[in-house]
């Protein structure tokens, strides 16, 4: 009787601690976001540093070398690709604000009214609604994503955290293990190692997959002579980090903007076909080769993760929620599997 009571007390205490930890993390949301992004980047870059280390370079020298290379590549890409990207964003904005989009929206409105007259639809005010939504999305983008001060702060803090995670990651792990009581020491080490391996494979796989999808989509759109090929391709690659929803979102954005911008339905159909082919190639060829299957997540779990991530941390939270859920899934899965072995 007393044992059951004690067990219940322990479970309640554990739940309270977990809830407290969750509240604490939400309250220091921006810091958590920085640490999560840094940890994910460190996981992706780590094999490069280890490779150089295996070629007789010290860990610090290898980390510094990789860092310098990444910074140089990033700077080169910024000079080459940022003008294209900003040019394409401006052109879209101008295109959506021109009368062309209004004509198409009016056409769609008329089509809906004539086809669904039995529903009693009179005035939809689609043009006003689209304009209001566009303005609010652009305002949101400027206030959140293009906030220069926080962007610069993040650009300094994230590389700083990534550098030390890469350089001293093993020492941090050893320090963490040293505080685990003797009784759980081997168990913790076992779980940590397996989690580390699986999570690393999963994140690197997701990153590579997103990169390949981004490049393939950009190429396909460029061949189709789509005006904003780079913007849509980059968005498709980034959106691909969110399984199930990402590829649909990537293709939808390209199709909708093309319809509103040019009114060319044939081009929109070609874009949809191109994205379908890229997705098919991804499912048949790319994913089986590079994405770890051990972190298969149910579509419902992905949807819930994206909603929760978006609720607490915005768009970035939506992107990071899937790898974060992958991490939690691996942690729980490995803890249970190892716990069973320890009987």
């Amino acid at each position: 009787m007393e044992t059951t009571f004690n067990r219940r007390l322990k479970i309640t205490a554990l739940l309270l601690v977990l809830a407290g930890a969750l509240l604490f993390f939400v309250s220091i949301g921006s810091l958590v976001k920085l640490v999560v992004i840094s940890a994910l980047l460190a996981y992706i870059i780590d094999p490069l540093v280890s490779f150089l280390e295996s070629r007789w370079m010290g860990r610090t020298a290898a980390t510094s070398f990789i860092f310098l290379t990444i910074i140089l590549v990033a700077v080169a890409f910024s000079f080459l690709l940022l003008p294209i990207l900003s040019n394409q964003v401006t052109t879209i904005q101008e295109g959506l604000q021109s009368g062309n989009a209004d004509v198409i929206i009016a056409r769609i409105e008329n089509l809906i009214k004539s086809k669904f007259a039995f529903l009693g639809l009179r005035e939809l005010d689609l043009i006003d609604k689209v304009h209001t939504e566009t303005v609010s999305i652009v305002n949101w983008l400027f206030s959140h994503l293009l906030d220069v001060v926080s962007l610069i702060t993040d650009m300094i803090i994230i590389p700083f955290i990534v550098f030390f995670l890469l350089k001293d990651g093993r020492a941090f792990k050893k320090q963490f293990i040293s505080i685990v009581p003797n009784r759980y020491f081997e168990f913790a080490l076992n779980v940590l190692y397996k989690m580390d391996m699986q999570l690393g494979n999963y994140l690197r796989g997701q990153f590579l997959d997103a990169l390949v999808i981004g490049v393939l989509s950009t190429l396909a759109l460029w061949i189709l002579n789509v005006k904003y090929f780079f913007l849509f391709g980059a968005f498709a690659g980034l959106a691909n980090l969110v399984p199930y929803l990402g590829p649909v979102a990537g293709a939808s954005l390209a199709v909708i903007v093309t319809i509103f911008d040019t009114g060319d339905m044939l081009m929109a159909a070609h874009i949809a076909l191109a994205f379908t082919l890229v997705k098919l190639l991804d499912d048949v060829l790319i994913q089986p080769l590079i994405v770890a299957k051990s972190v298969d997540m149910h579509p419902l779990l992905v949807l819930l993760a994206v909603i929760v991530g978006g609720k607490f941390f915005g768009v970035l939270g939506m992107l990071l929620s899937v790898p974060a859920t992958g991490f939690i899934k691996i942690a729980v899965q490995e803890s249970i599997a190892t716990f069973r072995k320890y009987g």
Partner: protein, 170 residues
């Protein structure tokens, strides 16, 4: 202030020297030079056990090897609670777990307060990935140690067989 930092670094250096001295005595690391031993030292975990504390249980998944830095450890077969070996400072046990994931074949108990150095399979495999030359030296040392233990076991089996064939005359 200088003496403060000096003391801290000195104690860390002394600790490292002690560990290197112990590692040099372990047959597995016989072929390693000081630079190699330093790399091994970096992946070792240091643990302290109280008297009668269990280091690992028979049947637990084996994850690595323990080197006794100080103290006395008993290796006990369960459930008979039969002590099959008593190990002292500089000796090691559990080395087979560096090669496979099979369960521990006996329970290890600290008979006195013990300080241990632990080398675990994942860390060893990482080291092999990073420095295959050093990895080969360690694996060769490990094979030699296991080979010697196998020879000794064969000799015991041989003696036991002989005793069975030629029972003592009353």
């Amino acid at each position: 202030m200088n003496s403060f930092w000096g003391n801290i670094f000195k104690s860390r250096e002394n600790e490292q020297d002690d560990i290197l001295t112990i590692l040099k005595k372990i047959p597995i690391f016989r072929d390693l030079n000081n630079r190699d031993l330093n790399r091994v030292e970096r992946i070792l975990h240091r643990r302290e056990y109280r008297q009668d504390e269990i280091i690992f249980h028979q049947g637990d998944p084996g994850l690595g090897m323990y080197i006794i830095e100080s103290g006395l450890v008993s290796i006990v077969l369960m459930p008979a609670q039969l002590t099959i070996a008593e190990l002292y400072e500089g000796e090691f046990f559990g080395e087979l777990s560096l090669l496979d994931d099979s369960p521990r074949t006996a329970t290890a108990v600290a008979k006195t307060p013990c300080k241990m150095l632990c080398l675990f399979q994942p860390d060893l495999f990482d080291l092999i990935d990073l420095d295959s030359r050093l990895g080969v030296k360690i694996l060769l040392g490990l094979s030699r140690t296991i080979g010697e233990r196998l020879k000794r076991t064969n000799e015991h089996v041989h003696i036991l067989k002989c005793l069975k064939i030629q029972p003592e005359t009353p």
